[in-house]
Symmetry: C2
Subunit: 582 residues, 2 copies
């Protein structure tokens, strides 16, 4: 039996479009001789639909879409949708339909509903109460949805899940497992998925087809990389990362399997060459890719999809000559093409000559439209306007913020006048400690690199140049000490710890959720740890109004980070310094 993995890029709420896409893939798969095609989790609605799920009309549109799909499908399919049960109260289920011959032959609901980080499935769905495999031709297939296979002992305990749906399924003797997922990208997460499925296939002695979503939806980027493992946990085939893909495997029931339903289906790579040659490896090699390369690909996809799905063709970026705006612009060019990106340098009297030169050089090497809008006239206007109100007060951070806000207003004006989306250029280190101006450099429709610590921004810059074989990002941009240039001779390092220190503490505190004393024991100075975590805690109000950012780490600010603002909890760094890194 030839099974197609339909790794599609859906758009949240675009039910008609998502159905069309599935029909297109199914038609291609049918022509290639596939017996069955598998689509990702909630492929009908797009993932995550969030509070659209609270609209009756949305649920109905999803059912209508599924109906249209089932009538038009050329081959059987497995597809994610929202099921409804109008029993006691109205219950929704994150569900998987098995469609064959124009009818829905079976529906499997999702059992484990992730409700942590960016996930809120308990807000919307009820868990499955039944687990039954589906007989299709000669094979008995056990269906599950995303989280349902994340049932390693440590995960079950950590997340307090009370049941193991794979275990319940396997008791009913399936011969093949199919999991449909919408599992967002995170650095290194592909290995975790791989190891997980390897463990499950070995544990249950069953092959598994894992079909993941691909594409960006708001803050989340789905990386695809659907794959198949045989019952020995060997990789049989692997779909592309960060792109739609359609690949095939052969699932053959052995003679033994016919005799005894307990023997597993055998999985072999498909023979269809037309669509794509299936990769066969059986090793981890396919997954071994660099974190920088992966992150860059994820951000390019996330930016392209956010813009496209929001209806924007072009982007505008404030180019300071610094590394953050340079990397953001390079990503934008990869995402939507150089002809669709505009850079604006907005020098002040505090801007150094090299900054404007670096911004111009960057624009030239990227081949993008470039403008210079000096901001001094507005600075002077604010000075004049505010003089009576500020009489007798010294210049301070207020005037620095005004500069940032003038720049923000200029970018927004360009956006309003010409229809470009403003891409914010702030990184995670800045956003963490509040080294950024609300309504200033934080302006934008999408914050492209807001989940990248500064050191990672450098990694991306170097990789972008390496990949291009030339300094797309000017060497001086990479080499010079970072500066906001909001006053003469200002350097980031005057106000912040060195980024290597800051990023280390940030990672330990935000991503690893370590306590201050544990962070000190990693080798950081107690007073620096205390200062950094105080800044992180204190700047929640800025982050609450930040542009949506693309999530690439295990814990990003944004929808999965829900801290109160008006709160007074402060962790104390009390441990003595051990062997400080610095």
């Amino acid at each position: 039996m030839k099974i197609a993995l339909g790794q599609i890029n859906t758009t949240v709420g675009d039910i008609a479009g998502n159905i069309d896409r599935m029909l297109d893939f199914a038609n291609r798969a049918g022509k290639a001789g596939a017996d069955l095609i598998v689509f990702p989790e909630l492929a009908v609605t797009g993932y995550p639909p969030l509070d659209l799920l609270l609209k009756d009309s949305f649920i109905q549109a999803n059912l209508d879409g599924l109906h249209r799909l089932k009538e038009k499908l050329p081959i059987p399919a497995i597809v994610g949708f929202v099921d409804v049960n109008h029993g006691k109260g109205k219950h929704l289920y994150n569900a998987c339909a098995f469609i064959e011959g124009g009818v829905i032959r079976a529906v499997q609901h999702k059992t484990l509903l992730p409700t942590y980080d960016v996930f809120d499935e308990d807000r919307y769905f009820q868990p499955a109460s039944q687990h039954a495999p589906v007989q299709f031709k000669e094979i008995n297939i056990g269906l599950s949805i995303c989280e349902d296979i994340w049932t390693r002992g440590d995960i079950l305990e950590k997340l307090s899940y009370q049941v193991d749906p794979l275990q319940l399924l396997s008791e009913k003797k399936p011969q093949l497992l199919i999991n449909i997922s919408a599992s967002p990208f995170g650095v290194g997460k592909e290995h975790i998925r791989f190891e997980l499925v390897k463990e499950q296939t070995r544990r249950h002695k069953l092959p598994m087809i894992y079909v993941n979503s691909v594409g960006g939806n708001d803050q989340l980027i789905f990386d695809g990389r659907s794959f198949v493992m045989n019952e020995r946990g060997e990789l049989v085939c692997l779909a592309k990362a960060f792109e739609e893909d359609l690949v095939y495997v052969e699932a053959e029931q052995s003679a033994a399997a016919k005799a005894s339903r307990e023997v597993e289906a055998k999985i072999a790579p498909g023979k269809a060459k037309k669509e794509r040659t299936v990769k066969l490896s059986g090793t981890l090699a396919e997954f071994s890719s660099d974190r920088t390369v992966n992150t860059l690909s994820a951000l390019v996809l996330g930016t392209r999809d956010y813009m496209g799905k929001c209806g924007f063709k072009r982007a505008v970026i404030g180019l300071s000559g610094g590394i953050d705006s340079a990397v953001t612009a390079a990503i934008a060019v990869k995402a939507v093409g150089k002809e669709n990106v505009m850079g604006i340098a907005m020098p002040s009297p505090f801007s150094s000559k090299h900054s404007i030169d670096d911004a111009r050089k960057l624009a030239e090497s990227l081949g993008i439209e470039f403008h210079i809008v000096p901001i001094e006239p507005a600075m002077k206007a604010y000075e004049t306007m505010l003089a009576p109100l500020f009489a007798g007060r010294e210049p301070d951070v207020t005037e620095e913020n005004i500069q940032a806000r003038i720049r923000g207003a200029i970018l927004m004006a360009a956006s309003n006048k010409m229809g470009h989306l403003v891409l914010a250029t702030g990184n995670k280190s800045e956003l963490a400690v509040g080294y950024c101006t609300l309504y200033g450099d934080m302006c934008g429709g999408l914050a492209v690199i807001s989940d990248l610590p500064k050191m990672m921004v450098y990694d991306l810059a170097r990789y972008i140049n390496e990949e291009a074989g030339k300094p797309v990002i000017p060497v001086s941009t990479i080499d010079k000490p970072p500066s906001a240039e909001l006053r003469p001779n200002q350097l980031d390092q005057d106000s912040l710890p060195p980024y290597v220190i800051l990023d280390g503490i940030l990672n330990a505190y935000v991503e690893q959720r370590r306590k201050p004393d544990e962070i000190i024991r990693l080798g950081y100075r107690p007073e620096v740890v205390q200062d950094v975590i105080n800044r992180i805690d204190r700047n929640e109000y800025k982050r609450k109004q930040a542009a949506p950012g693309l999530k690439v780490s295990s814990r990003a600010f944004g929808m999965g980070w829900r801290m109160p603002i008006a709160q007074r909890f402060q962790e104390k760094a009390t441990a003595p310094a051990g062997s400080p890194l610095k």
Copy 2:
């Protein structure tokens, strides 16, 4: 037995402060002869602690706080805290401790974990697995936490709750029910709570003491109004709304109750006069208060607490001469005092004379500091700076947004320079349809009236004047047609449907979650309905970057409204117009 209701205002994360507050209340209650004091849900941590719950150090600080409290309490107490079970995985519980004689005699976990609207309790907590009353002196007390009593059949069905904790408790024959809550204010919600408890007391033939939190924590405002009902569902005592309070009731076990544990404890109002005379009514009259009055009180409390808990003493508000900024300023004055509020009028060449006059009149009648900062210099500066970039393009909404952004920057500059919190003045109608400028009039630390539809803003304005017995808010501000004054002769009604129509559709679509066709059947024109809901859907990106707003309706934009941005679902208004209102 004399039981004190300790209706306290906690601050999220201020564990030491919350414990001190409880000790203060317990000492006062002890002096008044109380045998027991009851504090609200999660009184140790403040509610909602959100992702602070993910920090081990926070959980530990909460346990340490509870330990300190139990050692120092002068009388027995019931108090909400976060319990931990280090069994399989680390489980947290929203819990209630019964403390007596320096020890925690019993702990009851919360069973029903609200995970809808603004609540995310499934994200953090495990449900209770046991329900057992606690024997205290002669009375057997059944403890429950907030949602646990929301077990009317229709609610259970709607929220898909599988168990009824009150039923489980009542099977174990308690004689008195005590519920500790953190139930946020919503217009009319006090009646819902009252009816609910009335039903439960009658159903279980048991009296109930209901202790609610009071105070603002970020977007949520807790209105207090703790109360006691006897076993016949009659109101026995009622604590203040929107203020801390300490009231007492007498719970007496009847002779019959001693003979048979099935007879209920009798509840009578306490005799302590020192602290506060307990109200006794047994009717709904105590709860009958006007929605405008309640909303105003809620916003005053919410503003005062947000500012105080964030460490701000003073507020600055842009005064346009319009109704929104006038009402916001009046609320700010009630919240923090006229000496702590600054108004800034920022006229442009498009501002009418009456606008500046109205702003000045308002400032005078409120008695607040007032400044005028004309914005024309900055408008001209932007015009000059942007001329080369915008060459050949006509003026449009861009220039209007620039004016709003200049004003935002001026207010933020005042905040930066002088330490005032900027209060944003946008209302819910504007925020819904995007009739507001991101980084412009949307600037601010708190959006005071962002959950008030425009018509409700008028109601508040009229009430503020009525209450003051004089036009605190200038009559011309109330009477003139609303205008953003961003171009000559501009009126809101040129761009929007009349507010009475807009607000009606908004209420139906956002709060009541009605479908477009249902809204049309309410009497609105199909094309207007379609236009309004399209605008609401399309402006999600603005709301995502809005300042936190105070929630007073059943469905506010903000933490409880989680819509995707890059999405394409659109509801169609297809019904024919019935008998249009307009």
